[in-house]
């Protein structure tokens, strides 16, 4: 990491320590949710932005994480951290299995199957209500004995930062290089000795595990897990955050998550129009500025400084 980048990240982390001192409980909640979306959008970006595969099961995997951990803590009395760990593992395994099945057939199959998986998961969760409480939602214990938004904020901040560090390391590792090679040109990568199917499955499993982890924490923060967590609506929000923020860049999904989550709080005053609006913006972005907000800003700055 360049020195300048290191300092900027450091400054952001320091700044991120202060919000609980002056934000209301409501806005602190918005911040916590934004951090959850940062984890979701950044880990989705790891496969979509860096290997070019579109998974529609990212929200579903976060739901797997949330429900697995939730049910383990409720029915078996496991501590949340252990539940989350297992939930992450379940998401990783499922991701590996689905990825293994579809990816050898190509990206279209992955998208179709993950979409199907999301739908099926929703149907199962809604119908198996003796275990999941269906649409009523499953009440689960929180992470802390004493409920405090401030504690949750710091918890989410730490987990998010750790996750982002892992993602950064992956992107800048040999593995990340193979991700980009596969994205750039599959045939050339394969002819250079890269096992492209393995790379794709690996990327998918890692990214799914990350969303399982994020979902696990999310569930124990909300303390009420509903089928909305693994829904396609949620999937759309995550996707829109990455697309609008800027796919294929490290900062894009982070920016996208905060901007869209905060924006949706303002729009919600007028009714549930935020999905429609974000959809239209995402379409315009994907069409005219595929590098996203971050890409636009970067170009502009480069022009001004050069």
């Amino acid at each position: 990491m360049g020195n300048k980048k290191l300092w900027i990240s450091f400054a952001f982390i320091i700044l991120a320590l202060f919000p609980p001192l002056f934000l209301s409980q409501y806005w602190l909640h918005v911040m916590i949710i934004s951090l959850f979306y940062v984890m979701m959008a950044s880990s989705w970006n790891l496969i979509a932005g860096f290997t070019g595969q579109v998974s529609f099961a990212h929200a579903a995997f976060s739901g797997m994480g949330a429900y697995t951990s939730g049910m383990l803590t409720v029915y078996l009395g496991l501590p949340p951290w252990l539940g989350i760990l297992i939930g992450t593992g379940v998401a990783a395994l499922l991701g590996f299995g689905l990825g293994y099945l579809c990816i050898r057939m190509g990206g279209i199959y992955l998208s179709l199957t993950t979409l199907g998986f999301s739908e099926i998961l929703r149907i199962i969760i809604t119908n198996e209500d003796q275990w999941t409480r269906g649409t009523m939602g499953l009440q689960v214990p929180g992470f802390f004995v004493e409920y405090s938004k401030t504690s949750y904020y710091y918890l989410f901040l730490i987990v998010t930062i750790l996750l982002l560090i892992v993602i950064y390391k992956i992107i800048h590792s040999e593995m990340g290089l193979t991700f980009r090679a596969v994205l750039n040109d599959e045939v050339a990568a394969s002819s250079s000795g890269i096992n492209t199917v393995r790379v794709r499955v690996l990327a998918f499993a890692i990214s799914s595990a990350m969303s399982g982890l994020a979902g696990g924490f999310y569930g124990h923060y909300l303390m009420l897990i509903t089928p909305d967590v693994p829904s396609l609506g949620q999937m759309f929000l995550v996707l829109a955050m990455a697309v609008i923020g800027g796919m294929g860049s490290f900062a894009g999904p982070i920016v996208g998550s905060f901007v869209l989550e905060i924006l949706s709080e303002y729009i919600r005053v007028y009714g549930e129009y935020h999905v429609l609006l974000f959809g239209l913006i995402a379409l315009a972005m994907a069409r005219f500025a595929p590098e996203g907000v971050v890409g636009i800003l970067r170009k502009k700055w480069r022009r001004e400084w050069a």
Binding site: V54, F56, G107, I108, G116, E119, L239, G279, L283
Partner: protein, 287 residues
């Protein structure tokens, strides 16, 4: 016994409509390697169009039907021109764009038509006694024959006409097709419109039987995708056989195992196909 026969008949009727819807997806995948995730929304829109045309505007149902399909065809053409065309060759963006479009259309449907299920009026009433075994609704019988008619016209269109030949030329070899003078931009656009129109046709035919709601769109898309994978990407015959298999299995499964899980049977089929025969029943095992 007659109960089983009735479920089978249901499966076949639904199966034929599945086939129409799946051909809509398959055509577009075959020619432009684009999966239209907004397929189900087009189906839903068609259902609402035909409802409002006949109920709110008083157009006779049998006229409202082609009119709705035509509107969906125009929407399909518009989609291709504005959003899909710039993504050719970039699989990732086409997947993202059609998915976002599906969410946008779903929300738009919710805003425009409201959340309530709507059902265009039946074209016919009453029921018919089938071989003295059981009674079957005339509406379903008519839907079946209309669907067969649509199916036959599609086959005629693709096997016999200029348009069909261009489509096949392009799906086999884009460059060659361009060399022999096929205007692939025009063919793409028409094919996308046709794919959309087929979603519309399925919606129009089925909505008098199963009312449409904005939230029902994703299972429509999913059904079509499962049929396409089961039949083999790009195979018309596969769509028909796959559509029938899915229709029959879902109806028998719903009747004898569980109604709640009718959509799960489809997903199980999808996974089984991916495990045992990922190129599908009639698909080509490429390379």
């Amino acid at each position: 016994m007659s109960e089983l026969l009735m479920y089978l008949t249901n499966g076949i009727v639904i199966g034929v409509i599945n086939a129409i819807s799946a051909i809509g997806v398959s055509l577009i995948v075959g020619i432009m390697k684009v999966v239209n995730f907004a397929h189900g929304e087009l189906y839903i829109f068609a259902g609402y169009f035909s409802y409002h045309l006949s109920v709110s505007l008083g157009v006779p149902p049998l006229l409202a039907m082609p009119l709705s399909i035509f509107l969906i065809f125009l929407i399909g053409i518009g989609m291709e021109r504005t959003l899909i065309r710039p993504t050719y060759g970039d699989e990732m963006y086409s997947l993202i764009i059609t998915f976002v479009l599906s969410i946008v259309l779903q929300n738009a449907a919710l805003l425009i038509f409201g959340p309530y299920p709507q059902k265009p009026p039946n074209w016919v009433t009453g029921a018919m006694n089938i071989f003295g075994l059981y009674h079957y609704g005339n509406q379903r019988i008519l839907s079946f024959f209309i669907s067969i008619g649509v199916l036959l016209s599609i086959f005629y269109l693709i096997k016999r006409t200029w348009f069909g030949k261009s489509i096949r030329a392009i799906s086999q070899d884009r460059e060659m097709a361009a060399l022999v003078g096929v205007d692939h931009l025009k063919v793409n656009m028409l094919a996308f419109g046709l794919g959309a129109a087929l979603a519309g046709a399925a919606g129009v035919v089925l909505s008098p039987i199963f009312p449409v709601t904005p939230s029902g769109s994703s299972s429509v898309s999913l059904n079509a995708f499962i049929v396409v994978v089961l039949g083999g990407m790009g195979s018309l015959k596969g769509c028909v056989v796959g559509g029938l298999i899915l229709g029959i299995l879902e109806n028998l499964g719903a009747a004898y195992i569980s109604t709640m899980y009718r959509h799960i049977f489809g997903f199980i089929i999808l996974i089984l196909v991916l495990v045992f025969r990922p190129w599908g029943l009639f698909g080509q095992k490429t390379q």
